[in-house]
């Protein structure tokens, strides 16, 4: 798929300082890149944060943009892990409007995708799906045959395999 080719996953390691996210976001927005997903959290050492950025846009300019992010004073490293061997995971929660009568159909999908129900009422369920993005996508496609009220995804988080640094 074309979209796949233009989707990149970057891991950015930054000093945990005010403004760092705005500076990074500006580099992308100035060049017309759309940030599809963004996860920011404290790293092992609390002075630093780890960002995982899912992006779409022209792959040609991306190399230069990565360098521009890399040169920001608060950025320690910016690596494109798109083709790397890295573990990529995300989490999604889906709220489905479903009554007792149809619940069993939903539960079949939950079981198939090894999801969890994390909230259950007479009229609704919240289902949590974790795993590779493709798996989460597939689950969401299936669950859409029921009445999905809300959908929340964390966006990808990524870690390089083996001795490779993220």
């Amino acid at each position: 798929m074309n979209i796949e080719q233009n989707t990149h996953t970057l891991s950015v390691y930054v000093s945990n300082r005010p403004g760092v996210l705005a500076r990074i976001a500006q580099v992308f927005s100035r060049r017309g890149y759309n940030i599809e997903s963004l996860v920011v959290s404290p790293a092992k050492d609390g002075d630093f944060s780890r960002m995982t950025i899912g992006l779409s846009g022209d792959p040609d300019g991306l190399e230069q943009i990565i360098r521009q992010v890399g040169k920001l004073v608060d950025v320690l490293s910016c690596v494109d892990h798109t083709d790397d061997s890295a573990v990529v995971r995300e989490l999604a929660m889906v709220k489905v409007r479903v009554d007792a009568e149809h619940r069993i159909g939903v539960l079949q999908i939950v079981e198939h995708f090894a999801c969890k129900t994390v909230d259950l009422t007479d009229t609704s369920m919240i289902i949590m799906s974790t795993g590779a993005s493709e798996k989460v996508d597939a689950f969401i496609r299936m669950i859409k045959s029921f009445e999905v009220v809300e959908l929340v995804r964390t966006g990808k988080v990524l870690m390089a395999r083996g001795d490779q640094p993220t």
């Binding site: 000093s15 890399g70 040169k71 608060d74």
Partner: protein, 578 residues
């Protein structure tokens, strides 16, 4: 009073001044206001030797700091108040950012509890300036001031230099300081210069050895790195010609037989022809700006392209190159020099000399007073031993063409931003930085009016700056484009309402005004300006109104499409940027 001060604890602003002293700051260019008063106060209470230069508009302060930095290589310092004071500096910060000029901007800010609540004269200066600074800080604690000052100067002046902003809330600058005056920096993400990659240098040496038609392109980066000796040595060793960007003027003496002068949109015909016909181009500290490459995908299409730059993000940005080396220009050249020898360039240099003779820079001598001739005479009278700043427009390009530059840091112009209003305040900064040198600023009648309020600033300090107003009563460069590309439809370029610049100067205490109308008087008037040293001197030169700058490569066109002179046929509108 003073003796009490030393015993009583400092406030943030006083610590700030101490830290600026420790950085060797000589001058601060600024203008006060509510939230900056504690800092201005500290300039008095600390008894510091740092001299405050009071400007008349904050944009001028930024350009002065910029001119000071370019003339000396040391960071310029700006101090302004919050809100409008700070936003007035943004054009100047952007100008410095585009041209990699080290600058530290101190802005007052409302007190921290009021930030984000639309307090009086509050503006999100940290956010507003983010795209035009190398780095910035919003201070929250007086005790952070010393570390931040140290980091700010370090970041501004190292690697690829640039402006760094410190936003200082009033409660931080007036809060009690209980910290350490000389703490370590904390910049784990900042690695401004890479070690020179020996393998990359060898590949470049190898590529050079195969070239018979090389061109060296020297830019501002070569100057910032202080690589002029190495560039000259490389050119002479290879026997290769050198062209420079506008900001690279002075990296190699433009009187040197291997110098081709400036290339690009209004560069010399022989520089542009050499670039079109070369088999190898090696940029040392230029970023292949659109003003010099024209149409990117046609630029040196069949030549080997080499790029040396301190900023990795510049490599392959505008044009794809075959070889590159990321690092400080001087260091890279030092590694390269032992690996290169003389090339067989006799035929090539002969061919270029042919172009030099056939297409010299020239101007018509008949008709009214020619700006080019004034500059030509100024060069002949001074032999490049002056510091020149320019504004932006036709006069800027003529200055670049006719005022040959011999030494680095002697030609100061807003290149990347093309900021009208830059020239005169930049000259003030340059004169402060280089008190022994004769400083000239070449300005247009349009741009000069954007910042001429700084005549007062120059008068107060009795700066003997020579201000040459090349007055064509037009926004000349735009008029030229309208003439060439828009059927001479003039729209918004006629500067009716200009003052008499000489009489205007005379109305300032200590300034002198001169008028130049006849070609025969050029030397006499220039000499009079040189002889007046009690303050600024404005020469109002009433020039031919509709003269055009040539050669010219229409924006976005390949260098092959250079116009040596005014074409008879109608030209298409340019497709390139601005």
């Amino acid at each position: 009073m003073k003796s009490n001060q030393t015993n009583s604890p400092m406030d943030g602003a006083q610590a700030l001044v101490k830290c600026l002293e420790a950085q060797g700051v000589e001058y601060i260019f600024g203008l006060s206001g509510g939230s900056a008063i504690p800092i201005f106060d500290a300039l008095v209470t600390t008894g510091t030797k740092i001299e405050l230069i009071l400007v008349r508009h904050e944009q001028g302060a930024a350009h002065m700091a910029d001119g000071y930095a370019r003339a000396t290589g040391k960071p310029g310092v700006v101090l302004v108040t919050s809100g409008p004071g700070a936003t007035n500096t943004i054009t100047g910060i952007m100008t410095a950012h585009m041209d990699s000029v080290p600058m530290v901007i101190l802005t007052g800010q409302t007190i921290t509890p009021m930030i984000g609540k639309d307090a009086f004269q509050e503006a999100d200066v940290f956010g507003l300036t983010m795209p035009v600074v190398k780095h910035s800080y919003l201070l929250k604690n007086p005790n952070d001031i010393p570390r931040v000052v140290k980091e700010a100067f370090h970041i501004a002046g190292t690697g690829r230099p640039g402006p760094v902003l410190m936003d200082l809330p009033k409660d931080v600058s007036s809060g009690k300081f209980t910290g350490e005056l000389d703490p370590p920096m904390n910049l784990p993400g900042y690695h401004p210069v890479r070690e020179v990659d020996a393998a990359a240098v060898s590949r470049i040496a190898d590529a050079l050895s195969r070239s018979v038609r090389p061109v060296i392109l020297a830019g501002h980066g070569a100057m910032i790195s202080g690589a002029e000796q190495e560039v000259l040595q490389l050119a002479e060793t290879l026997n290769a010609p050198v062209t420079t960007t506008l900001l690279g003027k002075g990296v190699i003496p433009e009187t040197h037989p291997l110098s081709l002068g400036m290339l690009g949109m209004h560069g010399t015909a022989y520089a542009n022809k050499a670039v079109v016909e070369c088999d190898l181009i090696m940029s040392i500290g230029s970023r292949f700006d659109d003003r010099i490459i024209g149409q990117a995908d046609r630029f040196c299409r069949d030549a080997v392209r080499i790029h040396i730059d301190v900023d990795v993000a510049e490599i392959d940005k505008m044009i794809k190159v075959h070889h590159s080396c990321v690092g400080d220009a001087k260091e890279v050249l030092k590694a390269l020099l032992p690996q290169v020898g003389q090339l067989n360039t006799e035929d090539w240099l002969r061919r270029i000399d042919g172009y030099r003779n056939r297409y010299p820079l020239r101007y018509g001598k008949q008709g009214g007073l020619k700006a080019q001739q004034i500059l030509d005479e100024l060069y002949k009278m001074t032999q490049g031993k002056i510091v020149v700043t320019t504004d932006v427009g036709q006069h800027q390009m003529w200055a670049a063409q006719f005022l040959k530059t011999i030494r680095p840091n002697d030609f100061i112009s807003s290149g990347g931003a093309g900021t009208m209003g830059f020239g005169f305040p930049a000259a003030i900064g340059a004169q402060f930085g280089r008190p022994k040198d004769q400083v000239w600023t070449i300005v247009g009648d349009g741009g000069f009016q954007m910042t001429l309020c700084e005549l007062a600033t120059a008068c107060v300090s009795k700066l003997p700056i020579k201000i040459l107003v090349l007055n064509n009563h037009y926004l000349g460069m735009v008029r030229q484009w309208q003439e060439l590309f828009y059927d001479d439809r003039k729209s918004g370029v006629d500067l009716v309402g200009n003052p008499d610049f000489a009489r205007l100067a005379d109305s300032y205490p200590g300034a002198k005004g001169l008028t130049l109308k006849r070609t025969a008087d050029i030397r006499k008037i220039l000499q009079r300006a040189m002889d007046y040293n009690d303050g600024p001197c404005v020469i109002n030169a009433e020039c031919e109104k509709t003269e055009n700058v040539f050669p010219m490569i229409p924006a976005g066109r390949p260098l092959e499409d250079m116009l040596i002179d005014r074409p008879r046929k109608k030209l298409e509108k340019p497709t390139g940027s601005t």
